[in-house]
């Protein structure tokens, strides 16, 4: 299953679906980085609204993506973590520390826009 990655201006938006396997996630990570390099995006929003479970592997992958995109001068924001999923994550000590988070796509884009504006001014 492929994760759709859309381009909106300087921002990439990726929407993760529910039944994603570990392999799909790995493929997504490569594809996303590819995109980041090719499109020189400044920001990436990864929407995990559809994920009903975010376990150690999923969290680690997201952290890695955030780190790797930062090395490329882009910021990744994770949005759409469900309340129950957030609860389970912190129980496991998976806090996505150092990774920016926002409530949903709207908030995520607003954050990136503000950031871009601040950089320009």
């Amino acid at each position: 299953m492929e994760v759709p990655i859309l381009k909106q201006g300087e921002v990439l938006i990726a929407t993760i679906q529910a039944a994603l396997t570990d392999n799909d996630l790995r493929t997504f990570r490569s594809a996303l980085l590819d995109h980041v390099v090719r499109s020189r995006s400044r920001g990436i929003v990864i929407d995990v609204t559809a994920l009903d479970v975010l376990d150690s592997f999923g969290t680690r992958t997201l952290s890695e993506i955030a780190l790797m995109t930062r090395l490329r001068g882009a910021e990744t924001i994770i949005v759409g973590v469900q309340p129950e999923v957030a609860f389970a994550m912190v129980q496991l000590g998976l806090t996505l520390e150092g990774v920016t988070t926002a409530l949903d796509l709207e908030e995520g884009l607003a954050y990136l826009n503000r950031k871009a504006k601040n950089l320009r001014s």
Binding site: A19, T21, N23, V53, S56, A88, L92, G93
Partner: protein
Amino acid sequence: MFDEVIVPISSDLDIVAARQNARSMAAKLGFAPIDQTLIATAISELARNIVRYAQHGEILLKVIEAKNSSRGGLMVVARDEGPGILNTQQALEDGYSTSGSLGLGLPGAKRLMDEFEISSAVGKGTTVTVKKWLKSL
């Protein structure tokens, strides 16, 4: 509803199947949505262990009843005939890393469930049994 389901585990897809099965069983039993997520997450970790370290194994999901009451619960047995764990105590203590590549997911499963048992022998395999009980009304 079936009271017992066995999910063979040998690939990534099976990890997803295992946790989806677990979620629906937990839902039918009456577990609150949040507990369903905790159970599904624990199973995801256990199933992944099997795929990563033993390549093949199975996850048994079973509806259980408490010994001296009719309180219900869900039991999960993750079995494999893989390399086994030399020091289970340490495996539990080492803890899960938030960013590292270590972490067998065992401490995670233990935290999310109510009961946890592990037996493992090097060269023979590993069996992890976890249980979650419905809260008393």
